[in-house]
C-alpha cells in the first residue's frame, strides 16, 4: 500500500521532469521508479517509530502562514543588517517542542531555521536549542504560536 | 536583459561569500561561506539557463539544490568524530 503510494509519487515526479512520452523512456521510467521504491523500502526496514501521520490538508494551510512569517522575518533581519550601528542582542535559549511525531518535530525545527533571525542548533528529545538574533524573535517563539501550528499538523491519534 | 541586475547581485554576493571564506576566522565561517556560495550557484545557474534560452538546463540547478547539503553533513560528522577522539585523549591523560 505504502509502496504503491511511493511509486505513484515517483512516477509523477518522473513524468514532470522528463516530459517525454516515448515508449522506451516511459519503460525506463517505470524501472527507475521501481528501483527507487525498492531502495526506499530497504531503507525503511530499520525504521523504529513512525508516530502519528502528517495531515496533508493542514500542511496546505500551514505553508502560507509560514511564508508570511518568513517574509516578515526577512524584512526584520535585513533592517538589522543595513542599520549603520547594528544593535544586536542575540539570545541562546531552550524551547519546548510539543510535537509527538519525529516528522512534525523536524518541520517545526526547520520552520524555526527558515525564518531568518531564529536558528535551531540542537534537538534533544522534547527541547530544542535555539539561537535568536534579537530578543523579540525569541519572545515570538516562546509565545508558542508556531509550535501550536506545527503540532496541529499531526493527526490526533 | 532583465536578468542582468540579478546576475550582478549574485556575482557580488559570491565575492562577499568568498571574502568570508578567506577571512575565516573560524573553520565554521568557511563552511558557512561555501554553503552560501552553493545556494548562490543554484540561483545563478537557474537564471543563466533562462538567459541562454534553455530552460531544460535547469537540471543543473536541480542537481546542486539536491546534493549541495551533503557536504555540510559530512562536516558535522567530521567534527563530531574528532571531538569524540579528543575527549577520549583528554580522559586518557
Amino acid at each position: 500500500m505504502r509502496a504503491l503510494g511511493l511509486f505513484l509519487v515517483f512516477a509523477l515526479v518522473w513524468l514532470l521532469l522528463s516530459g517525454l512520452m516515448k515508449p522506451l523512456v516511459l519503460g525506463l521510467g517505470v524501472v527507475s521508479c521501481l528501483l527507487c521504491v525498492w531502495l526506499a523500502s530497504r531503507m525503511h526496514r530499520v525504521e523504529e517509530d513512525a508516530g502519528p501521520a502528517l495531515r496533508p490538508l493542514h500542511l496546505l494551510a500551514y505553508l502560507p502562514w509560514l511564508l508570511k512569517e518568513v517574509v516578515l522575518a526577512n524584512l526584520q533581519v535585513m533592517r538589522v543588517v543595513l542599520s549603520p550601528r547594528m544593535a544586536l542582542d542575540p539570545v541562546l535559549f531552550r524551547l519546548r517542542a510539543t510535537q509527538r511525531s519525529q516528522l512534525c518535530k523536524v518541520i517545526y525545527g526547520n520552520s524555526i531555521t527558515l525564518t531568518p533571525g531564529t536558528l535551531t542548533l540542537d534537538v534533544d528529545g522534547e527541547t530544542m536549542l535555539v539561537h535568536a538574533l534579537e530578543r523579540a524573535g525569541a519572545e515570538a517563539l516562546r509565545s508558542g504560536e508556531m509550535d501550536r501550528r506545527a503540532s496541529a499538523l499531526e493527526a490526533s491519534a | 536583459m532583465i536578468f542582468y541586475p540579478v546576475l550582478f547581485a549574485l556575482i557580488a554576493t559570491m565575492a562577499l561569500a568568498l571574502a568570508r571564506a578567506l577571512l575565516g576566522p573560524s573553520l565554521y565561517d568557511r563552511v558557512l561561506a561555501v554553503n552560501m556560495f552553493g545556494t548562490k550557484t543554484v540561483l545563478f545557474l537557474a537564471v543563466t539557463a533562462f538567459m541562454l534560452g534553455r530552460p531544460d538546463f535547469l537540471d543543473l540547478a536541480l542537481a546542486y539544490a539536491a546534493i549541495n547539503f551533503i557536504g555540510v553533513l559530512a562536516v558535522l560528522q567530521f567534527f563530531q568524530s574528532r571531538e569524540i577522539r579528543q575527549r577520549y585523549e583528554r580522559q586518557g591523560r
Binding site: 515517483f10 515526479v13 517525454l20 527507487c36 531503507m43 523536524v106 525545527g109 | 573553520l27 568524530s81 569524540i84
Partner: protein, 331 residues
C-alpha cells in the same frame, strides 16, 4: 555581457586557487576547493558546456567534499612543513615562470571564444553536428560524440575510473581486523548522525528522490545534459548521504559490498561487452549500428547500454572509495 560575467568569475577563480595554494590549514583548503568547483561549474555553464558543468556539479557538490574530509580524518589538519633550500626555491620559481610565460604566449595564438573560423570548427565539429541527427537520431550532440563517434575514448575513461577505484581500494581497503581498536576509535567509528533528528529525517526523504533524479539524468543523456558519468556521481551521492546519516555499517547493509564490487566490474564489462557484440555481429568494435536491423535503432540501443555501463561503474567506484575512507577514518 556573458563575457564580463565570465571574466569576473575567472578572477574569483584565480583568487580561490591562490588561496588554496597559500593555505596551510588543510580544512580551509578543502572548503575553498568546494568553492573552486562551484565556480568551475558556473564557468562551464556560461561557455554553454552544460554536460561538463553537470559533471562538475555532481562530483564537486556531492562527493568531492565528503571524500576530502575522509582523507583529512586520516591525515592531520595542518600541511606538513617541508624545507626547501633557497636555491631550490628560486629554481622552482624560474621553472613556473617560464612555463607560465610559454602558456601565455601560446594562448595569444588561440582563436577567440566563439570564433567560427577556429580550426576546431573547420574540421570534425561540423561533421559531428551534421551527422548526429541522420546517423544516430538524438538531439544531444555531446552524447553522440561521447558515446558513439568517440566511443573508444569513453571506454578508456571508464577503465581509468575502474583502475582508480581498484587502486584506492587496494591501498585503503586492506582489512586490518587484527589491529586492536581502542575505545575512542571504536566509538568514533560507530558514530553516525543517527541521533540528529533533523538531518536524519530530511536525509531519509531525500535519498530516494536524489536516486530518482540520478536515474532521470542517466536515461535522458540523449535528450538533455547528462549521462552515465553525471548520473553515477549523483547516485553515489545519494548512497553516501545515507551512509553518513545511518553510519557506514548500515550503508553497507543497504548496498552490500559484493554488489558494489559487481557494479565496479560489471559496468566496465557491459561497455566492453557491447563493443564485442558489435564485432560478433559483423561490425567494427563499438559500431552500434549492427545491433538492430535499423542502424539508428542500433545506435540508440548501444548508447543506452554503454551509458548504463558507465553509470554503474562510476556509482560502484565512488561508493567503494567512500567506504574505504570511512572504514579507515578513525585510525
Amino acid at each position: 555581457m556573458t563575457l564580463i560575467f565570465g571574466v569576473f568569475l575567472l578572477i574569483l577563480l584565480v583568487i580561490v586557487a591562490l588561496a588554496i595554494v597559500r593555505s596551510e590549514d588543510l580544512f580551509a583548503a578543502v572548503m575553498l576547493s568546494g568553492i573552486f568547483s562551484l565556480l568551475m561549474a558556473v564557468n562551464f555553464f556560461l561557455l554553454d558546456a552544460a554536460d561538463v558543468a553537470l559533471t562538475e556539479a555532481a562530483v564537486g557538490a556531492g562527493v568531492a567534499t565528503v571524500l576530502f574530509l575522509g582523507a583529512l580524518a586520516l591525515t592531520g589538519k595542518e600541511e606538513a612543513r617541508h624545507t626547501v633550500s633557497p636555491g631550490g626555491r628560486w629554481l622552482a620559481l624560474g621553472v613556473s615562470f617560464a612555463t607560465a610565460s610559454l602558456l601565455f604566449y601560446a594562448s595569444l595564438e588561440n582563436p577567440h571564444i566563439g570564433d567560427g573560423s577556429a580550426p576546431v570548427h573547420q574540421h570534425v565539429a561540423p561533421w559531428y553536428l551534421a551527422n548526429t541527427l541522420p546517423l544516430i537520431d538524438i538531439p544531444n550532440v555531446v552524447t553522440a560524440v561521447l558515446g558513439s563517434f568517440r566511443g573508444f575514448d569513453t571506454l578508456g575513461e571508464v577503465f581509468v575510473v575502474f583502475t582508480a577505484g581498484i587502486g584506492v581500494m587496494s591501498i585503503l581497503g586492506v582489512r586490518h581486523s587484527l589491529v586492536e581498536l581502542s575505545g575512542a576509535e571504536l566509538d568514533a567509528r560507530q558514530r553516525s548522525l543517527r541521533h540528529h533528528l533533523i538531518p536524519r529525517i530530511v536525509g531519509r526523504g531525500m535519498v530516494p528522490l536524489i536516486m530518482l533524479f540520478a536515474l532521470y539524468v542517466q536515461f535522458h543523456g540523449e535528450y538533455s545534459p547528462g549521462g552515465g558519468f553525471q548520473a553515477g556521481a549523483i547516485a553515489a551521492a545519494a548512497i553516501i548521504l545515507y551512509s553518513l546519516l545511518e553510519g557506514d555499517d548500515r550503508g553497507r547493509e543497504l548496498l552490500p559490498e559484493w554488489l558494489l564490487r559487481l557494479m565496479v566490474a560489471g559496468g566496465a564489462l557491459l561497455y566492453g561487452g557491447v563493443g564485442l557484440a558489435c564485432v560478433l555481429l559483423g561490425g567494427n568494435f563499438l559500431d552500434y549500428s549492427v545491433l538492430a536491423t535499423v542502424p539508428s535503432a542500433g545506435q540508440h540501443l548501444g548508447l543506452l547500454l554503454i551509458e548504463l555501463g558507465v553509470g554503474i561503474t562510476v556509482t560502484g567506484v565512488l561508493i567503494s572509495v567512500f567506504h574505504a575512507f570511512a572504514r579507515r577514518a578513525s585510525r
